[in-house]
Symmetry: C2
Subunit: 269 residues, 2 copies
């Protein structure tokens, strides 16, 4: 989609949000794309546990697409325990169903719960595992709750940045007040009944001039259909056919000999 | 997260879903990552309009991470009009707020609406624009409604696959019936009041043996606090301190001389 520069407010303007903890990531590039996904959804604080690459890392910087502020503030820890020591509530992301005695939430439910915890001044963190294998059981055991993303069980592979993106998206959405459905057209001044009647009267007069109506019965039925077509917003296929018939007749003119629609002669019927 | 092989059911087992139309993509790699994101969320039908690269494309295949079935079925069109000619309802994704007389939905609302349309046997499509600039006004004009993803307005850059991922995620979620919150621990047989009383009685007896209680008043208060601590699920910081005091006293033993907790001598008090 569209590329937008980060504003002056930066991360601090985003307000308190969950800390993202990447446990033993293997590729610097994934840290960059994760930082970008975080900033997309208002997450500013990133922590790494035992990265398998040196830091600073040129590939991470190249992949962050401008989310430098997240990388500049990032902290590195020797253990998961140290990385979460100052947090009150920790979620662990997992793709598998685990037989663990911990609450298991969808990303959506976790976003809503995390927001209410942060409103109560708790510090919240979200753990993400290494690229291929995710979090191991010892790492999962450190969390208060597990989070999973609903996904096609036959093809559940997500890369690290995509997992961060989806969990971050649900965090952002839990605080987003944009209406689900807007319609600018509905905000415009609607046509009055008189406007619509005038237009229909005009159209019916022209149709009579080209002998469009075969009988009085079909005339009433067609006028009713045309009226409804203009009163509704979306057109159906029969309406499209009807509209084509109308235009065709208008073009051919009143005597069906192809003399043209511009002539003013009035047909009988 | 975890890598899972695609099952035998493949795309056809996923059921009818929206068609994804990528308009004039510039990089083959993005078609591969978009195909992967589609399959993550049950979208099997991909169409390209005027790709800026040759097809078949090795980079697309390398980037699809196993979503070959989506690429193998993909169709290429010369125009957006041709790509959507057989569809009944078309959404156009946009990152910007547009002054267009079209309904504007969140991805979540579009997922729900698309599912009800598809249940009524309508064919639905979703247009995505080129990498840097998105859909132009002529392309947007072909859609019935616009879709946007709630995102940090100060950092709204999403790559093509991520846009497909988020819209696909909301499509999948609209049909997902997994509970938002599960707790395996809650499903286990809970301790009876008798179990809990027995444990507390045991603990209090041991604490009396090590002269933990200073007065009758504090004894009652501490026993009440210990009881509540075990009746609740989560521990507070004061509870942790109390538990540490209990353990410390048990370890030091009854006469405070460090003779060890194994001795059975009973203290007065």
């Amino acid at each position: 989609m569209k590329l937008t520069k980060q504003g002056r407010g930066g991360i601090d303007a985003l307000g308190p949000a969950p800390v993202v903890v990447l446990c033993r990531p293997q590729l610097g590039e994934n840290v960059g794309t994760a930082a970008r996904a975080m900033l997309n959804f208002g997450l500013g604080e990133l922590r790494l546990v035992e990265p398998r690459f040196g830091w600073p890392n040129a590939k991470a910087v190249a992949a962050c697409s401008g989310a430098h502020e997240v990388l500049n503030r990032m902290a590195i820890f020797d253990s998961v325990e140290a990385a979460i020591a100052d947090l009150h509530h920790v979620y662990a992301t997992t793709a598998r169903f685990r037989e663990m005695r911990k609450p298991l939430l969808t990303a959506e439910a976790a976003g809503v719960e995390a927001r209410s915890m942060i409103a109560a001044e708790r510090r919240v963190g979200i753990l993400f595992g290494r690229e291929r294998t995710g979090l191991d059981n010892d790492e999962l055991a450190l969390a208060d709750a597990l989070v999973r993303v609903p996904i096609n069980p036959e093809f559940a592979s997500l890369n690290l940045a995509q997992a961060v993106l989806l969990v971050g998206y649900e965090w952002f959405k839990s605080g987003d007040s944009t209406p689900q459905h807007q319609d600018l057209a509905e905000a415009e001044t609607p046509a009055t009944k008189g406007d619509l009647d005038g237009m229909l009267h005009h159209l019916v007069t022209e149709l009579e001039a080209v002998a469009f109506f075969r009988s009085h019965d079909s005339r009433d039925s067609i006028v009713r259909t045309v009226k409804m077509m203009f009163e509704r917003r979306a057109m159906t296929q029969p309406e499209v056919h009807l509209m084509r018939g109308i235009v065709k007749e208008l073009r051919r003119g009143p005597d069906k000999t192809g003399r043209g629609a511009n002539e003013t002669e009035v047909a009988d019927g």
